[in-house]
Assembly symmetry: C2
Homo-oligomer: 219 residues x 2
C-alpha cells in the first residue's frame, strides 16, 4: 500500500468507524483530499477500496456516501461471515502446520491474559483475536476465501462487537478458541467448522444484545 493512498484509506476508514462521518452522508473526493493532505488521486483509490469493503456506497451517478446498515444488513453480514469462517476452519483443520497451531495457542494464551485482570484489556483482546483468526485464514490456503472474508471482517459492525463484550462473552470467546485448538489438533474438519460457525453466531447475538440495550437506553 503506497504512502498517500494507504494513508487516505486509513484516515477515511477511521472517520467512518468513529462516526465522524455520519452514515448516509455524502462525501466528496475533494473534501477528503483536503482532510487527508493528499490529492484526489489517492483518495479515489481509497474510496474504491472502501466501496468494495462496503463501507462506502455509490449512487448511480457515482457520488459516494457513507454506507448505512440496517438490522437486516448486520444479520446478513454475520451470517455470511459465519459461513465463510467455518469454511476457513474446515480447510485449515487438515492443512494447518504445527508452527501455526503453536502460534494459535500463543495468541489465545495472550487473549486469556488480556481478559484475566480486573479490567479487561479490550485492545489487546482485539489484536490477538484478529491474529488468531488471520492465522486460520492463512492455514486454510485459499486466496479466494481470504479475499472474500477480508471484505467482511473489516466492517464497522464487526469491529464494534467486542467493544460491547462483557466479561462472560470474552471468556466464552476464549474458551471457544480452545475448542478450536482441540479440533485442529485432531485435524477434524467438521468439528472445527461447527465450532467456528457457532463462535461467530454467538458474537452476533452478543452484538445484538448490546446494541438493542444501547438503543433502549437512548430512548
Amino acid at each position: 500500500m503506497s504512502r498517500a493512498s494507504g494513508h487516505a484509506y486509513t484516515v477515511i476508514r477511521g472517520m467512518i468507524l468513529s462516526g465522524e462521518l455520519p452514515t448516509g452522508s455524502q462525501v466528496s473526493e475533494e473534501a477528503l483530499a483536503l482532510r487527508c493532505g493528499v490529492s484526489r488521486t489517492p483518495v479515489r483509490d481509497a474510496l474504491r477500496r472502501l466501496e468494495s469493503d462496503l463501507l462506502i456506497r455509490r449512487s448511480e451517478s457515482q457520488r459516494s456516501f457513507v454506507a448505512d446498515w440496517s438490522d437486516d444488513d448486520i444479520e446478513d453480514a454475520f451470517e455470511l461471515r459465519s459461513m465463510l469462517e467455518a469454511q476457513a476452519a474446515r480447510r485449515a483443520a487438515t492443512r494447518i502446520a504445527p508452527a501455526q497451531l503453536e502460534a494459535l495457542r500463543h495468541h489465545n494464551r495472550l487473549i486469556g491474559a488480556a481478559i484475566a485482570g480486573e479490567k479487561p484489556d479490550i485492545p489487546a483482546f482485539l489484536d490477538h483475536n484478529r491474529d488468531f483468526h488471520e492465522i486460520i485464514l492463512t492455514a486454510a490456503g485459499s486466496s479466494r476465501l481470504a479475499s472474500l472474508l477480508t471484505r467482511l471482517i473489516e466492517q464497522p459492525v464487526v469491529w464494534r462487537t467486542a467493544q460491547n463484550y462483557d466479561r462472560e462473552n470474552l471468556q466464552r470467546s476464549h474458551h471457544e478458541h480452545e475448542e478450536l485448538l482441540a479440533a485442529f489438533a485432531r485435524k477434524d474438519p467438521a468439528w472445527a467448522a461447527s465450532i467456528m460457525a457457532g463462535h461467530i453466531r454467538r458474537a452476533y447475538y452478543a452484538y445484538r444484545d448490546a446494541y438493542s440495550a444501547q438503543r433502549t437506553a437512548a430512548e
Copy 2:
C-alpha cells in the same frame, strides 16, 4: 461505469479471457492504455477492479500480472461458489416474488429451447443461464452476498465451463433448474439450497472432465 474506465475494463477482461494475454505474464498500465485508446488513469481503475475479480494479481512491488490458476484454485473457486449460490437459493426460497418466479420459468423455457435443436445455441444458453442465476441472487436480497458472488462468477474458469458442456450436461442443467423452480414454488429453503449446491458441484465436474480430456488430447 464511466465510458473510458468501463471500456478499459471490458477490453482487458476480454484479452485475459480469450488468452490474448497469457496467464502469468506481466501487463503494464501504459501498454494497456495504448491498447485501449485511453490514458493510464481509467486503466488503473480497471486493473483495480480486475484485481478484486482475481483476474489480475499484483506483485509486492505493485506490478500487475495476469492471474494463473492452479487446479486447486479452480476447485476452490467452485467450492466457494457452490456454498454462496446455495446460500442465495436458501434465502431466495422464502423471499422470491411471484413475478420473479415467473421470470425464472421464462428463462428456463428459453434455455430449454436453446438446447433443443440439432446444434445447441451455447451463447443463448449462457445468457439465460446468467439471467436465471441473477434473478435468484436478486431475490436473495443480500447486497453483501451479491457483492461476494459477483467476484466469483465472472472468472475465466466459470465462463469457459459451459463451452465444454455436452448435450447431456446441458439437459441436466436445464432439469436442475426445473427442480429449483419446484423448491421455490414450495418455498423450501433447504431443498433449494441443496439442489443449487449440487448444481454448481456438477458444473465443476463437467468442467474438470472436459479440461482433463483437453489436456490429454493436447499431449
